[in-house]
């Protein structure tokens, strides 16, 4: 690839965006070198979409500066160096997928070959279909195709898998990783920790419009306190639960025990074999983001 990482893909300095009294983004600073996949992880209302809008020049910051690929967002967009998949974006219903992709492709100075776009977005069979009547997941794939069509140096995806089923998701992330592997930068917003974990080289966690954590997926998960084992304890004594292997904290509420653990398998095994408790309704949940947030934002 001819992309030379001379300037950072993204550089935000003290960025704030207020809508009246609502501080959607509230003092966000971060830098990301070019290349690789970056997840913008946060719960609904954390400021992800606003951050995306600021990066794309669709919104202007109340304070601070946003630089994209060494220039303003507007410049980067005008030069065709940015592609984006927004959360809402209806397609023109009367046009075929091929026409839509061909049109957007033609707007960029150095687009990808049409066959490669259709491949990446898994759209081969839909080229002649009109946008009207596509399923939610199919429409998402078309919007992904529109986003990558211009071979942008920076690809921004806002909750890209929202309407997709499991199989579509898998293919979608394959496409995204193939795209990022070419030395380009991909930034995607998500509220699923698993998506960030499996598809990003770096995770930026934002909460309440601020950067709550920044690191590799492994680092973030460690900060978030691993996984959660819950079961119905009833009237049985809770003594000894905190001594089980892997457990880092214990919480009993309304007869339900919540064990935070570094190793769910070890903890669960020990719970059955190493105690005489009757374990009902056992559930192991994998590092829920809401939990991660409690852990990540508790200190700040």
């Amino acid at each position: 690839m001819e992309t030379i990482p001379s300037s950072p893909a993204l550089a935000l300095t003290g960025v704030a965006k207020h809508f009246g009294d609502v501080r959607a983004v509230d003092g966000l600073s971060l830098t990301a070198a070019a290349g690789g996949a970056i997840a913008l992880l946060g719960p609904n209302g954390a400021g992800k979409s606003t951050t995306v809008s600021l990066l794309l020049g669709l919104a202007r910051p109340t304070a601070g500066t946003v630089r994209v690929l060494g220039g303003t967002p507007e410049q980067a967009v005008a030069q065709g160096r940015v592609g984006a998949m927004l959360q809402q974006g209806e397609l023109m219903p009367e046009l075929t997928i091929g026409e839509l992709v061909g049109f957007v492709r033609g707007l960029y100075p150095r687009p990808l070959p049409l066959s490669e776009i259709l491949d990446l977005a898994d759209l081969g069979s839909l080229v002649k279909r009109r946008a009207k009547g596509l399923s939610g997941g199919q429409a998402q794939r078309v919007r992904f195709a529109l986003a990558v069509a211009g071979a942008p140096d920076l690809l921004v995806l806002d909750e890209p898998t929202a309407a997709m089923d499991v199989e579509s998701r898998r293919r979608f992330w394959d496409g995204m990783r193939a795209y990022a592997a070419g030395g380009r930068t991909v930034l995607f917003a998500t509220h699923y920790l698993e998506e960030a974990d499996q598809n990003a080289d770096r995770v930026l966690v934002i909460a309440r419009g601020r950067l709550a954590a920044d690191g590799t997926p492994a680092e973030i998960k460690a900060t978030a306190g691993g996984r959660l084992v819950t079961f119905r304890l009833g009237d049985q004594p809770a003594a000894g639960l905190d001594a089980l292997p892997g457990v880092t904290s214990v919480e009993i509420r309304d007869g339900v025990a919540r064990l935070r653990t570094d190793d769910a398998a070890l903890t669960t095994a020990a719970l059955y074999r190493g105690t005489t408790l009757e374990v009902h309704d056992l559930e192991v949940s994998g590092g829920h983001l809401e939990d991660a947030f409690l852990a990540l934002t508790r200190e700040s």
Partner: protein, 245 residues
Amino acid sequence: MLASYVRLEILRMIRNRRYVILGIGFPLVIYLLNANVFGKETTDGGVTLSAYVMVSMAAYGAISGTLVNTAGPWAQERASGWLPQLQVTPLPGWMIIVGKLVGALLLVLPSMLLVCLAGALTQGVSLSVGQWAALVGALWAGAVPFVALGLVIGSLLRPDAVQPVTMITMLGLVIVGGLWFPVTTMGETMRTIAEATPAYSYADMGWSVIAGHGVPLSDALTVAGWAAALGVLAVLAYRRATVRA
């Protein structure tokens, strides 16, 4: 870029049944109905009604076509998220509004030409080549203010409000402007009001041409003035609609 955007705008409209039926078919049908009933009569100026109504219906088709085809889709695109999707591509903002203007002008030609063709072929309207050219040229170029008006409505209103407002505006223009009922049938006051509308000056360019008087300068200036005023308004409204918060 501009050409491919215009192509896209035209492609999506000609696949739209509503455009084809209402925009192209309706003026033609109304013309044929009127011409077959009143066509043999003549106006005070000695023009057959089949020719007079041909101009009225061509003008009506252009006004309704430009308003309806511009305002609705534009409001819809803003609301549905198609606009932000275009805004994150290298397509410059000015090309969107210019593209819509050019697209709307091209889309108005079929109905105009069909009505003229029907006049010539089925109603015996006979004009010189120069008159036909002047007629179509004046009605085509004169459609600009109505495209601008459509863009103003589409920029200021939400999709659900656009349709009634467009319809009322359109009907107001063509009825008050004397396109459905000639101004000669109106009272003194109504006639004064009619002659102040852009729709009247617009159609009057055509009525003058078929009466053998050419395009009156006063009408051309009035339409140009409306085009300038509504054009400025359209740009302002467009900026307001696409402002980056």
